[in-house]
Symmetry: C2
Subunit: 233 residues, 2 copies
């Protein structure tokens, strides 16, 4: 076993959904010791965090940090008013530009800033984020140019980076379809029955099967000739 | 009086220290309606937040958000172990590369991410940050290239920005000496007796007069032929 100082550590953003869980599996498959980070930013997402904890434990992460995001002072409209209505559709083809219940302003910038902070403490050079430019094209902070720009910030932000270490933000899903993500995860042994992608799950974590996220995911499994195992559990 | 929708809103990072208080005054002088944001990340800084609140009130900010930063899950070393020893010197010439008590990993990236989130909620296009490249050259995230890189991130991160609004990060102090910052603030009517820059103040907010920050500040006043009014209050 290698001494701790030779570990290749990576910070992995983990929501407990399909994409981030696949991203965690890819991080491990690429030889990194994963440190998972999740965010608590609303009571309705407690079941999502429980899933993230279980997934992190099952994946054998070195540590799982759960950060309490305090955005309450910003006026509330973004997190409460906008979150009241979860758009429901009959099929994935109807999905438009609705703001989902999980809306957090400047979401990936806040998440990546915390990941960078933890990477600095861990002396990790690598971060993994499961953003995806194809299925969620409505989010500007899921595009490759955004990830590249944040990587530039990361490499200017810390003493460690400017003294020679090269920080890298890995976004392995960014150009993949949902069906391709699922195929890759299944090849890596991901148990998707544990993952929760729904914007409006029941208190027990049952997906609603009608929100954008549920529909995209069901279609991804269907394109692989499968049924979403989260619906059967 | 203009209707609220025509306000030129700006989010201003406010620690309650000399630099950020001057930055707030500059923001106002440039015609913006300031929204101040401060961060709570350690018990020892409660007196600093009290000063920030008083300064924000006196400056007539539209709102003052105080965000609770949760970094406890990152292992503690950065915020507790490293913070135990506050370096003390006899004069500003002795100041080296000590890590100050106020160390937060990836500090300005975390702060600016929250400022960007609030700017998105407020529909503000402008952010002010009192970073200074001359007196604090040990911090990579106080350099112009870092600020430029974060501005690029900000302009890629939100729907609002990609739909045509240009977000700007103002760092008006970045090339100024401490003496120049003080001169500018005095010209704008800043009451520096209220500001607290010390890394290790008493519970009542009396500066220690020996930490890096106290010494740089005292020298800045001396170069203006003045005594730091915080020492007399």
């Amino acid at each position: 076993m290698e001494p701790e100082s030779l570990e290749r550590r990576a910070v992995v953003l983990l929501s407990g959904g399909l994409d981030s869980t696949t991203c965690l599996a890819i991080c491990k498959s690429e030889g990194f010791v994963p440190y998972a980070i999740s965010f608590r930013y609303g009571q309705r997402h407690e079941v999502e965090l429980q899933r993230a904890k279980r997934i992190a434990t099952n994946a054998g992460v070195a540590k799982h940090a759960i950060v309490n995001l305090d955005l309450g002072g910003f006026g509330g409209s973004a997190l409460t008013d906008r979150s009241l209505a979860v758009p429901k559709h009959q099929s994935a083809d109807e999905i438009g530009s609705d703001i989902p219940i999980t809306y957090v302003p400047a979401r990936n910038t806040v998440f990546l800033a915390y990941a960078l902070a933890w990477a600095e403490v861990l002396e990790a050079n690598d971060m993994y984020v499961g953003v995806n430019a194809l299925d969620y094209s409505g989010y500007p902070d899921c595009r490759p140019e955004y990830i590249d720009a944040f990587e530039t910030v990361a490499n200017l932000a810390t003493k460690r980076a400017v003294s020679g270490s090269r920080l890298r933000i890995h976004a392995p899903l960014i150009h993949m379809t949902k069906a391709q993500i699922i195929r890759r995860g299944l090849d890596l042994g991901v148990d998707y029955s544990q993952t929760l992608s729904c914007y409006d799950p029941s208190a027990e974590g049952q997906p609603c099967e009608r929100c954008d996220s549920c529909l995209l995911r069901m279609r991804g499994f269907a394109e692989n000739g499968l049924t979403d195992p989260a619906l059967q559990s």
